[in-house]
């Protein structure tokens, strides 16, 4: 594989940087919102605190990436405008994070599968050629590591727990597996950015993810379903029905009282 030397790398296109920041922000925002939905309904008081803290971390991260996207775009949009004034077709998050919470097993498994990818991505981005991306990545990395620890411990606890917890975790894996491919699906954007010196953004992360996740699933005693068609589309705004409902709740106040601030 040929490696480009620093002098031969073309600088990344501004529009591509905006889209990358949007993808990072949208993933964090939608997953943060999903965790926020557990508040008041968590299985245990300790988990009430956990879900609100995890949601806060994710929404804080979303704010950093979306503010960056707005600045790079240069059209006066900030994190608030991007979060509250875009509709489904303009959201670029993975299908994985917009899936409903279903039950606690699905929630922690989804979080684990996403967080390992997210950590690998952020570790790479802390060496990105663009300073703004490096800065935010360095800031969120310790928190992302914490998320992996939390989700990992729950996957093991449920997999190696009771008959019911094991059954629910296996059912969750069967249900969610088809959405894991999108994290590692290259497209023209990832190709262009990687050619411009960005670290691996998609398929380049898969081997490490497979290895780490594979060990955890084995320890938890669950098996992914046979290879199936992976479902993609979130990155280009082709979302399922779920995101519409999520945004209707998230954006309710702005939709009901446009431009209101409080």
């Amino acid at each position: 594989m040929a490696t480009a030397t620093a002098e031969k790398l073309a600088p990344p296109k501004a529009a591509d940087l905006v889209t990358l920041a949007l993808r990072l922000g949208d993933d964090a925002l939608v997953l943060g919102q999903r965790y926020a939905e557990w508040v008041g309904h968590a299985p245990a008081l300790e988990l009430e605190m956990a879900v609100s803290n995890l949601a806060l971390d994710l929404i804080g991260e979303a704010q950093l990436w979306l503010d960056l996207a707005g600045r790079l775009e240069g059209e006066g949009r900030d994190a608030d405008k991007l979060a509250y004034l875009r509709d489904v077709l303009d959201f670029t998050n993975l299908l994985l994070v917009e899936q409903p919470n279903h039950d606690w097993a699905y929630t922690v498994l989804r979080h684990y599968l996403y967080s390992v990818y997210h950590r690998l991505l952020i570790e790479g981005l802390s060496r990105a050629p663009e300073e703004a991306f490096r800065e935010i990545a360095a800031k969120v990395l310790p928190e992302v590591r914490y998320h992996v620890k939390f989700a990992h411990s729950w996957v093991l606890r449920l997999g190696d727990g009771t008959e019911e917890s094991h059954r629910r975790l296996q059912a969750a894996l069967d249900r969610i597996w088809r959405f894991t491919g999108e994290m590692f699906t290259d497209d023209e954007l990832t190709a262009r950015l990687e050619a411009a010196g960005f670290p691996p953004l998609a398929s380049g992360l898969k081997a490490a993810w497979d290895e780490e996740v594979g060990r955890t699933l084995k320890d938890a005693g669950i098996t992914p379903p046979q290879p199936r068609q992976m479902i993609t589309g979130g990155r280009i705004g082709h979302h399922g029905e779920h995101l519409g409902h999520l945004l209707a709740e998230l954006q309710f106040m702005q939709r009901a009282y446009p431009n209101r601030e409080w």
């Binding site: 300790e46 605190m49 956990a50 803290n53 995890l54 949601a55 806060l56 971390d57 994710l58 929404i59 804080g60 991260e61 950093l64 490096r134 800065e135 935010i136 360095a138 800031k139 969120v140 310790p142 928190e143 914490y146 620890k149 939390f150």
Partner: protein, 172 residues
Amino acid sequence: MAGKRAAAITDRRSEAPGDVAARVRAVLETVMDPEIPVVSIVDLGMLRRVEQGRDGVPEVVLSPTYTGCPATDVIRRLVEEALAKAGLAPVRVRYELSPPWSTDWITEEGRRKLAEYGIAPPQLKAHGDAPVACPRCGSERTELVSAFGSTPCKALRRCLSCLEPFEHFKCH
């Protein structure tokens, strides 16, 4: 430069004129963390430096702590209000991300005040595995109850000697 912490906190290369900077710092030492009212933002290591803006307006440069900390905006407002009340307006307040804040930046004074208040202070990152001592009785026989406490920065622990629960400011 003697380490990132020293550079971040005591960098005086673009320091505002001595007396202004000193007065601003003195005010900031009275701005307490909204959630843990016994420690100031200076104790928490949030103050990077006080600079002279190009237009002559002093600038307070802070470091955010946890990414999702809901107190971040509140602290900015508290700083602006405190400086205005002390007759030091106009002053600009801004957050800088890099280098990222770490609990290692919490001062010795800050650690002492946390422990006095009943919150076990964070270990230094280099000693991440050090036992957490009970802030009430000092015993190191403590256990983790929950990785998440009342705020993103704290975990809930229990002392196995005096049996009291307490919060632990997590090493970050």
